[in-house]
């Protein structure tokens, strides 16, 4: 009798539990069904506020003196702009209009960081950095939303470009891979590099600018100092299990022009006397054997002898309030006319100085793409946004 009662109780308990489980499952399925069937409520309304810079932010500059071409890349509005290099925006003028603008979704050009003008054809080469993996090339007359005449599938995160015209080779720095890649100058499509400089021995640490001394067969590369450490013999790469990060001081590393693979630099320029602080694009004056550095985070231009090594101080420095240099990633030399042109990202401007300028000197000319004294917002590829609830402030990382 007791046994039978217990058995009935057990069955009852089982039935209740089963019903409960089925009920829960049913509710869950119904809820899921409801979710899957739901129509999203579309909130299609105008923003309350928009924070956006309406003017270009110049990231790189190139000059062709014979044609008086000055080409700049604009990282804010995603444009390539050409000016007459002799322009000088009057102080009262709002801005100088460019001769042409290349921009749009057909261009394969977006967050551009590097630019090169072919000295013969006057084609314009531009490098995309974090958002598109292309190196598009535009003919002399391209304008508007023009498709490039050719484009190369480039590694992700290219920044600097330099060309050895003698050998028709194109050198690029790759920030995301800590490497320098060398392609045929006419490379296009999925063509692979001729050679790559990469690996722990290279001391390429977040490389940015690149300059060639063809006469002395040297490559100069500027590095921000964000290093990846991989054990010898490992495949490397940021996401490999054995690779980790390390902060090193910023530097300029020097390699043989034909270097390939995991090669040690011939020498390194690094240390507190160099004043490096985000050393970005480089320009080299072969005749004077001087290396010019756009020193982005220090609002300065540094000049070194090409033979300087170790913790050498610059031989000249353009820096100070009179220069109006603000966050200069780009620099180009006009050897024929004895001028330095500086892409000053923080002021919507290209600034010109004599080759031998030194100290807190005023620019000899300015081409402005925005009103004077209006600082650039410097929002570039804002991958995220934060909000400081205590101060009611919006935080934007670039």
């Amino acid at each position: 009798m007791t046994k039978a009662r217990r058995s009935v109780k057990m069955w009852l308990l089982f039935a209740v539990c089963a019903a409960f489980v089925i009920g829960i499952y049913g509710v869950a399925r119904a809820a899921q069904g409801r979710s899957e069937d739901r129509k999203p409520i579309t909130i299609d309304r105008a923003p309350q506020r928009v924070i956006k810079d309406p003017y270009p932010s110049f990231s790189a500059v190139a000059i062709n003196a014979e044609e008086n071409m000055l080409v700049v890349t604009d990282e804010n509005l995603y444009q390539i702009l050409e000016y007459d290099r002799r322009e000088n925006t009057p102080p009262q003028a709002r801005l100088t209009e460019p001769k042409r603008i290349i921009s749009g979704t057909n261009t394969h050009a977006e967050m551009m960081c590097g630019v090169y003008i072919d000295p013969v054809t006057k084609e314009v080469y531009v490098l995309n950095n974090d958002t598109q993996n292309w190196l598009p090339v535009f003919p002399r007359d391209a304008r508007g939303n023009a498709a490039p005449s050719r484009y190369l599938s480039a590694p992700h995160g290219t920044f600097g470009i330099a060309v050895n015209e003698e050998k028709q080779e194109m050198f690029m720095t790759v920030q995301h891979q800590n490497s320098v890649v060398v392609y045929r100058k006419q490379a296009s499509g999925e063509e692979k590099p001729l050679r790559t400089i990469a690996g722990g021995d290279t001391q390429l640490e977040d490389p940015h600018g690149i300059a060639l001394d063809v006469k002395n067969k040297l490559i100069f590369v500027s590095n921000f100092g964000n290093a990846h450490v991989s054990p010898p013999g490992s495949q490397g790469g940021r996401r490999s299990a054995e690779t980790y990060g390390k902060f090193e001081p910023p530097s300029i590393t020097v390699y043989p022009l034909e270097a390939s693979g995991n090669v040690k630099p011939l020498w390194i320029l690094r240390g507190s006397h160099t004043m490096f602080n985000w050393p970005s694009h480089l320009a080299l004056h072969e005749e004077r054997q001087e290396l010019f550095v756009a020193n982005d985070a220090d609002d300065s231009i540094l000049v070194f002898r090409t033979t300087d090594k170790g913790d050498a101080a610059p031989i000249r420095m353009i820096k100070g309030p009179n220069t109006t240099i603000k966050n200069p990633p780009g620099i180009a030399l006009d050897v024929k006319n004895g001028e330095i042109s500086v892409a000053s990202m923080g002021t919507h401007a290209v600034l010109f100085f004599p080759l031998t300028a030194n100290g807190d000197v005023k620019p000899s000319r300015i081409i402005r793409a925005g009103p004077a004294n209006q600082a650039a917002l410097n929002i570039g590829n804002p991958g995220a946004v934060g909000y400081d609830t205590k101060r009611d402030q919006i935080l934007v990382p670039n």
Binding site: S35, E36, T42, R45, H176
Partner: protein, 240 residues
């Protein structure tokens, strides 16, 4: 940098420097070139990811890295190993690129990326905040109805158990047609459309939403847009 998080409780903000594999914590109120107050970096820390979130209540930092989520002590400094790693086949983590943590309801939401050559679209995976090791997600939101292609920054709203995700669309398209900002709930599972969506287009002016953060005090969503190189605020009282 692809993420930034403000920790109101400790008045600090955190970012990942992906080029140096480091989590940097700065005190707020600073400007210029002040150094971080703490850096997590090194062979034991092995950061890996580009994004993060901070749980100021339980003092933890979460970092997604493809097939794993690493969790660090918030106050860690130096080469500190993660205290938990969510990893293994049951987690179904493959392209974890973004996340957000809810310290109130103890939920961790993870967003998947989609690269140019990835065949599958992204997804949102929902875990318990304290999950560790090879643990199955509580729910997965993915599929054509969800509209998820790839996810950048994410946020959660604990009082209403909401997941907010910035969806910039296909990576190789400059102005993708399928980008939007989507809002789901913790209870969603399967191929579920968002409960609310802010579309791209002429009215919102959005083109490629990359980042999102909530301002509950003003019932606002703050969105960063990569193609606009701008930040836009939207009044959305209905979701708060």
């Amino acid at each position: 940098m692809h993420d930034i998080r403000y920790d109101e409780l400790h008045d600090e903000f955190l970012v990942v420097n992906p080029f140096a594999d480091a989590i940097l914590t700065f005190r707020r109120g600073i400007a210029g070139q002040e150094s971080p107050v703490r850096i997590i970096q090194g062979p034991h820390a092995k950061i890996g990811g580009n994004r993060l979130d901070v749980d100021p209540v339980h003092n933890e930092i979460f970092v997604p890295d493809g097939n794993k989520i690493r969790v660090y002590p918030r106050e860690a400094n130096g080469d500190v190993s993660p205290i938990r790693v969510l990893e293994g086949p049951d987690t179904q983590l493959t392209r974890a690129e973004s996340l957000s943590v809810d310290p109130v309801n103890n939920i961790l939401v993870v967003g998947f990326n989609k690269g140019e050559r990835d065949p599958d679209n992204g997804a949102i995976l929902i875990f318990n905040r304290t999950d560790n090791g090879n643990v199955k997600p509580r729910a997965i939101i993915r599929g054509p109805k969800s509209g998820i292609i790839r996810i950048n920054q994410m946020a959660v709203y604990p009082p209403k158990k909401l997941i907010v995700a910035a969806m910039p669309g296909l990576v190789d398209m400059m102005e993708p047609t399928n980008a939007f900002l989507g809002v789901w709930t913790y209870d969603d599972n399967g191929d579920v459309p968002p409960k609310w969506m802010i579309p791209i287009g002429p009215k919102t002016t959005l083109k490629k939403p990359f980042g999102v953060v909530l301002n509950p005090k003003n019932k606002e969503l703050i969105i960063s847009d990569m193609r606009l190189n701008g930040v836009l605020t939207f009044s959305v009282p209905e979701i708060f």
